[in-house]
Amino acid sequence: MARFQNDVALVTGAGSGIGQATARRLAGEGVAVLACDRDGAALDALLGGPGRIEAMAFDVTSRKGWQDAVTTANQAFGRLTILVNGAGILRRNTIENVDLETWNEVLSVNVTGTFLGCQAAVPLMRKGRGAIVNISSVSGQRGDADLCAYDASKGAVRGFTRELAAYLARRGDPVRCNAVFPGIIDTAMVRTFFSDNPDAEPEWQAVNPAGRYGTAADVAALIAFLASADASFCTGGEFNVDGGATA
């Protein structure tokens, strides 16, 4: 039996990287996907390919945007069973030089965006069933010297995921919530970071024992597993896909 049955997914950050690969992977396994990104033009790459994919532009920091997105998914496909909070941003800063504006920007996308997505999607999911996959990071498990706000945001996603999983399960809601913890993944976000900060790449490589960067498809494969019925006993879990970086 297929591990997805009449599933509908809402994937944010689908304009590039992990979100885009996840939208492709889920669509390839028969899931209807509402692919979302702040940059609507970036979603064009997903359209016209195999599978059922609709596109919608919205900003994950907007509660109104989330309400519209969940309504759109429900209207387009009749239900919502999977939420992948793929949107995220990366900024370089240390505790000594991080300014409040950057700090708030990182927290609002990575943490508040994830929270708003869960709050908007859960009422619909709880009527049927649901699986939420949040994107934390190895940076939410161990410190990086130059990613002060990012590390804090990913630690927040980690704690939030466990708390939400416990809350939903204790209530008896048929909604699971897990987080994935990628290592260094070869995405536009990371490539831009390296080109903006040429000295960062050697530092990062020092904590990447695999000898290669992960691909967005590597992460998408894990997200698909967690979103599927194959993971029906998994909730509140932390699933690393980091090429051994935290071993």
């Binding site: 591990r3 466990r162 708390e163 999983a165 416990a166 399960a169 204790r170 008896g172 699971r176 290592g183 024992p209 695999a210 000898g211 992960g214 691909t215 590597d218 992460v219 494969a221 894990l222 698909a224 597993f225 194959d230 993971a231 029906s232 006993f233 998994c234 909730t235 509140g236 879990g237 932390e238 699933f239 690393n240 896909v241 980091d242 090429g243 051994g244 935290t246 071993a247």
Partner: protein, 254 residues
Amino acid sequence: MPDLSGSVVLVTGAASGIGAACAQELVSSGARVVLLDIDAVRGEQVAAALPEDAALFQPLDVSSVTQWEAAFARAMGQFGRVTGLVNCAATAAGQDVLDEADDATWQRILDVNLTGTMLGCQGFLKHADRTTGGAIVNFASIQGDVGVGDALAYAAAKGGVRMLTRSIAQHCMAQRISVRCNAVSPGYIDTPMIAVMFAEDTVEEDRARLAGRHPIGRLGQPVDLARAVAFLLSSDAAFVNGSDYKIDGGYTAI
């Protein structure tokens, strides 16, 4: 379901519970499986229910170096290679607390759960192709991570498996050996092994109480683990190494 065609996987503890479910799931995913267990009678039965060209049984006491050698020799002889290892064999004791711990029970639990896993990994690295690669999945446990108060030797052994797994992953990466090594940590799974936790006259109450310790409200089923193991053995998990995946219904989330 991941595609494991072309894989040859050794599974310990394959005569019952999670190990049997793993063998079945892996065969369904296209792998050929060598089922290993100390219980030859039930092991043969589980293997006999699987397609003959995809499964065979070999008796194995995981704490015996010579029996591990025989297991790998059988796998290589029959299928020509080994690409996967699932160290699922484990044992537990009814009274596994400090004041009751006797030397023999302590040693047996460490021998089977921890040393048995190490010996399997050692044999696998000897026989697997280091270039074309392979994958190991070791069974740790939530009890290797959080104290539950009634699993003393078991917790020690499973905590050992968690770090053994990470150490092997680090070794393989440092030596450029293309073998991945990960762990799964089950919550309480509905298998013959947990029956030792239930008093004879209160089995159903005890079972319900145990299920209630998982936020998700139920015990795990062997297939829940088998599917995670299939994922970790497959190319879908190509960038997953040295990790410990909780399959625990939220037990350790709280």
